[in-house]
Amino acid sequence: MDPVIEIEGLCKDFRVGFWRRRTRVLHDLNLTVHRGEIFGYLGPNGAGKTTTLKLLTGLILPTAGSARLLGRDVTLVATKQQIGFLPETPYFYDYLTGREFLDLCGQLFGLPTPVRRDRIARLLALISLEQAADRQLRKYSKGMLQRLGLAQALINDPSLVILDEPMSGLDPLGRKAMRDIILQLKAEGRTIFFSSHILPDVEVLCDRVGILVGGRLRGVGRLDEILTAQTESVELILERVSPDLAVLLQDLAQGPLLSRPDGVLVRLPDQERADQALRAAVEAGARVVGVAPQRLTLEDHFLREVQGHTP
């Protein structure tokens, strides 16, 4: 597959405090993202997600290692011609109107006037901001700024779109719209690399995810591999459980049974024990009300990665 983002041994040090001590915030990052992928870049606050995105967009310079976007080094200005970037909680010029700001962005890509006019009209429609296009940005709400941020990231018809927390500041409707736009961008053959905290959105959107903890990449993989590989446990809900059966079930479940209004809940650690428990229950004349295999969610996986590696 065609690599769009190639990161090799990327490190970043910042100097902090009065004595300007060196602190490494990104350790030896290696990552490849392929054409047409939606890649979710996850991690708790302060993990180094934004630092990575800033390195990719030339806002900060790497201490060591290198990164290439679309085959060109990130430190070259020309590389950015094909990149769209939405910064985290974008803040733009207060006294420009939405349309003027998009026009400025278009000019910075060297787009001729007619192209700019067309694109701006199309993008304003895409983010449903036509009504507010000639209002000054200081009168925009946070969600409107976020949408405008997306529009400015798409003004150059980029083949790679980098989004830093694209869902932040959006209401549920706005998040849905953002999700639809991201999927549409993918359908148009673009590559999307975005960081997020909002895991359900990531679960819906991403082909692959990477989890960054404490400046180190802890895991990269396809969502279906990470999430469906393991069935964590199976929950059975049974009615009419006899005392004998209860003892047997407790034995299989390796723990107590839970009494619920709709019956007894038995949590079995694996599929095999679940099968045994089901057979025993049917034989003993109990009624099966529910069987629910518990799969690992992205959130579980994420929490496990983060807790396992937090220093």
């Binding site: 806002l59 970037f85 910075l108 890509f109």
Partner: protein, 254 residues
């Protein structure tokens, strides 16, 4: 074209800010008031109008240059507006130049309005117009451009408050640096004299740009002096901008 786009938008941003409009309105009011003050003096009306007018436009011009200049880059970094610009195919020097030119354009318009009022008032009072006023205002504008370049240089690595203090200090020293050199020649010992000379070479000599008193009192102007001052100003601005670009080029936007 990219520099132009950034400059134009910097200008738009600045002139739409109400603070600038109110400062300009206040300055115009003060200049107009000099006409009232002039009517109290006998036979000196023209001089007072020109003197106060030039001083006011210079003072308010400096005020605007410092207070817009110090925020020019640091505010962009603080408010993270710079992220969207630098993530586009724009060289950092283009960004900095665009910001500088945008601010100079803003100053040109605001100071231009003030100077027009001064020239108009002087003409109304004297009954004839004084071309020297434009030369004085022009040279003073070069000094403003130096102050702006100093502010933008500090703004690339320092906070707005510190930049304001530094720029103001350099402005004051720069205004007095002619005297500084004179003092060194008159009184100081050889070591101190050398130190002051070095300082004089590094700091901008803004006193070179003040020909207002000659114009006001109708003294002859030296063309060579004006040309040298202009040349000095241009070179000084170029050096400051190169320094600012050098700092900005390596800066991380954290």
């Amino acid at each position: 074209m990219k520099v132009q786009a950034i400059a134009l938008n910097t200008f738009r941003e600045a002139v739409r800010d109400r603070i600038l409009t109110s400062v300009l309105a206040f300055a115009l009011l003060l200049i107009a008031a000099s006409a009232i003050l002039a009517s109290l003096s006998i036979g000196q009306e023209g001089k007072i109008v020109k003197d106060l007018g030039l001083a006011s436009s210079s003072l308010f011009g400096t005020f605007i240059a410092i207070f817009l200049g110090i925020g020019l880059v640091s505010k962009e970094i603080e408010r993270r507006t710079v992220y969207t610009i630098i993530a586009k195919p724009v060289h950092r020097f283009q960004f900095l130049l665009g910001k500088y030119i945008g601010l100079v354009l803003t100053l040109l318009v605001t100071v231009g309005v003030m100077v027009l009022l001064v020239v108009g008032l002087a003409w109304a009072v004297d009954g004839h117009w004084t071309p020297g006023l434009l030369a004085a205002a022009g040279l003073d504008f070069l000094a403003l451009m130096i102050v702006t370049a100093v502010a933008i240089l500090f703004s690339t690595f320092s906070t707005p408050t510190l930049s304001a203090i530094f720029t103001l200090a350099i402005f004051v020293i720069g205004r007095l640096s002619g005297d500084l050199r004179w003092f060194a020649e008159q009184f100081a010992g050889p070591g101190l004299r050398r130190a002051i000379q070095v300082l004089y070479l590094i700091l901008p000599d803004l006193s070179r740009f003040q020909i207002g008193p000659q114009v006001v009192h109708g003294l002859p102007l030296s063309t060579a002096g004006i040309v040298w001052a202009a040349l000095y100003g241009v070179v000084y601005i170029l050096v400051l901008l190169l320094l600012a670009i050098g700092v900005f080029q390596r800066r991380d936007f954290k």
